[in-house]
């Protein structure tokens, strides 16, 4: 397993797309901070309208903005979808998956190694986003004070967000393993991260069922916990939903990869 991880991590750090997707994500965070600052400074919109858009203009400090890192989880999941699709499918498009599968490793270990690498990418993107957002808002507004209560809640949010994006990565890895073709995998994964939340919102609006579907989709619940003072029970639901997705898609992925012939 260590050998597989070592090889996968080497490939990861040699991929330009890993750095490009990360750079886009971070640049977008900085642009968003600058845009927010401009919007507030120019008073282009009235304060109450800005508040209704989710800006807490009374406290725009970096400390207070930490939890909002994941408010725009669409972009985050979009970039994850693109990178994971490229990372997994290159092994198939180049045929290099044959080199791994013919060396006597069990298939589930090979799959787990790729999944772990994707989870690592999610963790790197999350940590980088938090740091850049903190620095961007700190330098543009003020850094503010992080109380111990805020830190506890923030760490809880971070843990939950990590689990959410691990779950999303599990789906992306599964889809990519199924598709094998980078183009198809990107199309499906991007569609998943962009449109499922929207479709579920529409379903919630028009469905007569007493179920809020958005509460069970990863991109939606990621945005749901992107602020402090989260309602009781939400984090538990988020953790359970994420864990369920991880277990389900790991199982699907293992059984798919275990039984398939490598035909590249």
């Amino acid at each position: 397993m260590n050998n597989l991880l070592s090889a996968d991590f080497f490939k990861l750090f040699r991929r330009k797309s890993f750095y490009i997707c990360l750079a886009i994500l971070l640049v977008l965070i900085v642009i968003s901070a600058i845009a927010t600052k401009t919007l507030i400074n120019t008073e282009a919109l009235p304060a109450d309208q800005l508040e209704s858009m989710g800006f807490n203009i009374s406290d725009m400090s970096a400390a207070n903005q930490l939890a909002a890192t994941f408010a725009d989880s669409d972009t985050f999941s979009l970039l994850m979808a693109i990178f994971v699709s490229l990372f997994i499918c290159t092994d198939y498009s180049s045929g290099a998956i044959k080199n791994t599968c013919s060396r006597g490793y069990s298939r589930w270990k090979i799959y787990l190694s790729k999944l772990t690498t994707a989870w690592f990418v999610a963790a790197v993107y999350i940590v980088s986003s938090i740091i850049v957002r903190y620095l961007a808002y700190g330098s543009l507004f003020e850094y503010g004070t992080i109380t111990s209560g805020m830190m506890t809640e923030f760490l809880m949010i971070c843990g939950a967000e990590l689990l959410i994006f691990m779950a999303l990565s599990s789906i992306f890895v599964f889809i990519s393993t199924l598709a094998k073709n980078p183009g198809i995998a990107i199309a499906v994964n991007v569609s998943l991260s962009m449109f499922v939340a929207l479709i579920l919102q529409l379903l919630d609006m028009f469905s007569k069922l007493d179920v809020n579907f958005s509460k069970y989709w990863l991109v939606s619940i990621s945005a749901e916990i992107s602020h402090f003072d989260i309602a009781e029970g939400v984090i538990v639901r988020v953790l359970m939903v994420s864990a369920a997705y991880i277990v389900a898609f790991m199982t699907f992925g293992f059984s798919l990869f275990q039984n398939e012939d490598i035909k590249v």
Binding site: N2, N3, L4, S6, A7, F10, K11, R14, R15, K16, T90, S94, G95, A96, I97, K98, N99, T100, C101, S102, R103, G104, Y105, S106, N259, D261, I262, K263, V264
Partner: protein
């Protein structure tokens, strides 16, 4: 004699149609095993099962006498179909991925192998800019990392120019002779295989029809005077007089092969008839390896 590969009734079916049908393949340690068959005969499917890229529908397989296939597969290096390389990496980086994959702590081996295959001066050139021959040689270097006991090369000379083909052949022969690596090489270019193979397996329409050594092949392709006669004992007495000892063999009750006087069969005929023995037919037989294989394949197809 240790077998590195032994299959028993190995089959692979695609939608019920056999791509490999009850194949019994035997490869001994130290062999250069030429695996011959037409396009679509089942060569690649067979090799993919051996290295674990495809699972057999039925049958059994032993690697180094063991049924613990995954453990033994670590002793194999392989190139199945096209070279499997990361195009966005350099030759050295591709080697590094493989080195990490097999857990080989010796970094020096990369430099050494790149030198062996003549790619030590490619520097930062990305694999996407390599020629097919360079990719093929890099694939061989990848497969050689970790000093495997067996190397499986599926159509290794596909798309190579004559110089490239010769280089691969020399490399295979050298590695077999100097490092004792067993090779399983599939190809449909028979002339090329015959220059290096020590053993052969012929597959046709998924059926492994025959296995034989290069000596046996040479024997079968040897030129001779074929004498068809109902009077074999009388003819052998005459041959004992006119031909060197051991220069003929009685194939069956009606056929004798004589490996002398190929340039003068009329003399043999004259000597036999002069002693009052008559033959049904006398002719010079024999063919090159390619002709032999084509006949064999044709024969199989007709059956």
């Amino acid at each position: 004699m240790e077998y590195v590969l032994k299959t028993t009734q190995l089959s692979k079916l695609f939608s019920g149609v056999p791509a490999v049908n009850r194949a019994n393949m035997n490869v001994k340690r130290g062999d250069i095993y030429g695996f011959i068959g037409r396009n679509g005969a089942g060569k690649t499917t067979m090799l993919r099962m051996v290295v674990g890229l495809a699972s057999p529908t039925s049958g059994e397989m032993e690697l180094f006498g063991s049924k613990d296939l995954n453990t033994q597969r670590a002793r194999f290096g392989s190139i199945i179909e096209a070279p499997a390389l990361y195009p966005f990496m350099t030759a050295k980086d591709n080697m590094e991925v493989q080195r990490r994959l097999i857990g080989n702590p010796q970094k020096d081996e990369i430099k050494q192998l790149l030198k062996t295959v003549g790619l030590d001066d490619t520097g930062n050139k990305k694999v996407r800019n390599f020629s097919l021959g360079m990719k093929q040689r890099l694939s061989i270097a990848l497969a050689l990392l970790g000093k495997p006991d067996v190397l499986i090369l599926d159509e290794p000379t596909n798309g190579l120019d004559p110089m490239g083909i010769m280089e691969i052949r020399e490399l295979v022969t050298k590695l077999n002779r100097e490092n004792g690596i067993t090779f399983i090489i599939s190809s449909h270019i028979l002339g090329e295989l015959s220059k290096m193979a020590t053993n052969y397996g012929i597959i046709n329409k998924g059926i492994l029809v025959e296995e034989f050594s290069s000596e046996q092949l040479e024997e079968r392709c040897k030129k001779c005077i074929l004498i068809k006669t109902p009077k074999c004992p009388e003819v052998t007495v005459i041959l004992d007089e006119i031909a060197a000892p051991g220069s003929y063999e009685v194939v069956d009750g009606n056929t004798i092969r004589l490996y002398q006087y190929m340039d003068n069969p009329s003399y043999v005929n004259q000597e036999i008839t002069r002693r009052g023995v008559y033959v049904d037919a006398i002719s010079v037989e024999g063919q090159d390896l390619e002709g032999y294989f084509m006949d064999l394949m044709g024969g199989i197809d007709r059956e």
